[in-house]
């Protein structure tokens, strides 16, 4: 009974501490540097969580997940500019719609492949989206990027305020975490794991596996799009890099370092990756080399990621 209550209580406490971070950190964190970094960690965590629905649950290694993240970022930015309306629901709605439709179009071809071939196709099609973002300069700003993204408002709240924006990002992150947790424990989530474990048997059980794979691809794409919209609001800028291979790799590395197929793994991975790429990068010139080497070490020696390592250590302590 004691532990049953302890875990939810700890979770609620952690969530409250996270959302209120700008408030209790303000005395010692006047420059707001840590808040900014934490905010980008949360955005990358949303991207990684959505990717792990594919990589971890369904066994679909997508190396082009930034395409849907970037599509969401562009959609939120463009919706704010073109519709002359800064309503948050409108911006997030546009992001979800556009990234889901894009995932549907690309997924229709890509989910016919699996394993390494799926990885190749998702990578290649993401580069197509990058090319479109690059060339459709009238809409996206092309290589200059889309600057001056308008920040949203919602029910009297104005997210031009940095603290309010952090609350928004943290809250959406928690909702996404909750959603992924629900999906993973639902019948649908178990069906995805069935795909990973034995797709032929799933077919024999009467599942339309191609459709199931496509639905996972669309759901993951839509969630990535939410992350993209928050990114656009955070830095008020979208560029083809948000759709690019480097960001897709960033998400994939986060998932793998943190722990494939675990709830918190992608979050921990995102924290590590953003730390290397944004914090270490200010001190050393070779942050990407560090990231590459860390990734290689994890693939070679700890494929189960940080969460897996912790589980093994915990089991040893208890035994």
């Amino acid at each position: 009974m004691k532990t049953r209550l302890a875990i939810p209580l700890a979770a609620v406490l952690a969530a409250a501490l996270l959302v209120t971070f700008p408030l209790w950190s303000s005395p010692w964190e006047t420059s707001r540097y840590a808040t900014t970094i934490l905010q980008s960690m949360l955005v990358v965590a949303i991207l990684a969580l959505s990717l792990d629905l594919l990589v971890g649950s369904a066994g679909m290694p997508s190396l082009g997940h930034a395409a849907y993240f970037g599509a969401g970022a562009y959609a939120a930015a463009i919706a704010g500019q073109r519709l002359g309306n800064d309503d948050l629901v409108l911006g997030l709605g546009a992001a979800i719609l556009v990234s889901a439709l894009l995932a549907l179009a690309i997924g229709a071809v890509a989910v016919r492949a699996s394993g390494i071939f799926f990885l190749m196709l998702t990578l290649a099609f993401a580069q197509m989206v990058f090319a479109i973002a690059f060339q459709a300069a009238d809409i996206t700003g092309g290589s200059n990027g889309f600057s001056g993204v308008r920040r949203p408002t919602f029910a009297g709240l104005d997210f031009n305020d940095a603290t309010a924006l952090f609350h928004l990002v943290a809250l959406v992150f928690l909702l996404v975490l909750l959603l992924i947790w629900r999906i993973r424990s639902s019948a649908y989530g178990r069906a995805l794991v069935g795909l990973r474990e034995n797709e032929r048997r799933m077919r024999a059980l009467g599942y339309d596996t191609t459709r199931l794979r496509l639905s996972a691809f669309v759901v993951a794409g839509a969630i990535a799009g939410i992350g993209g919209a928050l990114q656009a609001y955070s830095i008020r800028f979208v560029s083809p890099n948000d759709v690019g291979v480097a960001r897709s790799v960033e998400a994939f590395v986060s998932v793998l370092i943190g722990g494939v197929g675990t709830l918190l793994g992608p979050v921990i991975g995102a924290v590590v990756v953003v730390f290397i790429e944004r914090v270490m990068d200010s001190y050393i010139a070779f942050a990407d080399t560090v990231l590459g080497l860390v990734f290689i070490v994890f693939v070679l020696t700890a494929r189960q990621g940080i969460v897996g390592l912790v589980r093994v250590a915990y089991a040893r302590v208890r035994a």
């Binding site: 290649a124 580069q127 994939f252 990407d288 080399t289 290689i296 070679l300």
Partner: protein, 290 residues
């Protein structure tokens, strides 16, 4: 489009296709033998171009790079395979993930070593003139790229079809475990295959350097080109790489002239179409998609 520009663009397309063949042949060789899609292939290509830059800067000569870069990159591949990939043999997806890490490191080291701006080198001595074609000037070096690509294709086809090494490769592509059971040193064969594949990527980088640019991000651009070529042509076979490169080179080149707004997306549309109509690629045996 006038007949003159059509001919010039056709030559541009064919020379780009020849380059893509050199690049994709290495990717396809490694996949055929080891079932690993080497995602560091673009990084090896980039390394080839930047080594060429240094050779030209230091010696004022282009031609030494044609030998030096593939040798160095091949040697690197020969070390990387046993050091990293061999530890995960049989786990093909994990091996592919390893090559992502290798690619990250190489691209970063190239940026640190050579800087992160666009570089260029002149056409090599002897090929820095123009040839008159249809009344206009056409760079001789591009014709050399075509000749080099064709010569390499013939050479590889002969090695593949007529020599003992070729027989080993064909056997390995068909059934590597069986080959190992027959007493062939499969570890060495895999290391050599990976080295040759890497060297081919490096060679493509050398050939490309004077015309197709030396810039950060070229690793990703050309990795994607080579993936599209092998998916369209057929994975794991030399003829697939030829077919894919012969199609994608001209399609990409003409696309940029005829529909500049869609040009960069065109080859992906072609790839999607081929996958839907022929999931094995044009000349492949392996089904990429259902």
């Amino acid at each position: 489009m006038t007949p003159e520009t059509a001919v010039v663009q056709a030559l541009n397309g064919i020379s780009f296709g020849a380059l893509l063949f050199i690049l994709a042949a290495g990717l396809s060789l490694i996949f055929g033998m080891m079932d690993v899609v080497n995602l560091a292939h673009g990084a090896f290509y980039m390394l080839g171009a930047y080594i060429t830059l240094t050779v030209v800067q230091q010696t004022g000569q282009f031609w030494p790079a044609l030998l030096l870069a593939p040798l160095l990159i091949g040697a690197f591949g020969f070390v990387i395979e046993p050091l990293l990939l061999r530890r995960l043999r049989g786990r093909h997806l994990d091996q592919v993930l390893l090559t992502i890490g290798v690619s990250l490191v190489i691209a970063d080291v190239v940026g640190l070593t050579w800087g992160r701006e666009i570089r260029s080198i002149p056409f090599p001595a002897g090929l820095d003139h123009a040839v008159t074609i249809m009344g206009g000037d056409y760079p001789a070096y591009r014709l050399f790229v075509i000749a080099f690509g064709v010569a390499l294709a013939v050479l590889l086809a002969v090695v593949h079809g007529r020599t003992r090494v070729g027989a080993l490769i064909r056997a390995g592509v068909d059934d590597a475990p069986m080959l190992a059971a027959l007493g062939v040193d499969i570890d060495r064969l895999f290391a050599v295959t990976f080295a040759v594949g890497a060297a081919l990527a490096g060679l493509a980088g050398v050939i490309a350097a004077p015309v197709f640019g030396i810039y950060p991000g070229m690793d990703v651009d050309y990795l994607i080109y080579s993936l599209v070529v092998v998916v369209v042509g057929g994975l794991g076979t030399l003829s697939g790489a030829m077919a894919g490169a012969s199609l994608i080179g001209p399609v990409d080149t003409f696309g940029k002239v005829l529909f500049p707004e869609f040009a960069l997306a065109l080859i992906f549309a072609v790839m999607a179409l081929v996958l839907l109509l022929r999931p094995t690629g044009l000349l492949g045996r392996i089904r990429v998609a259902r």
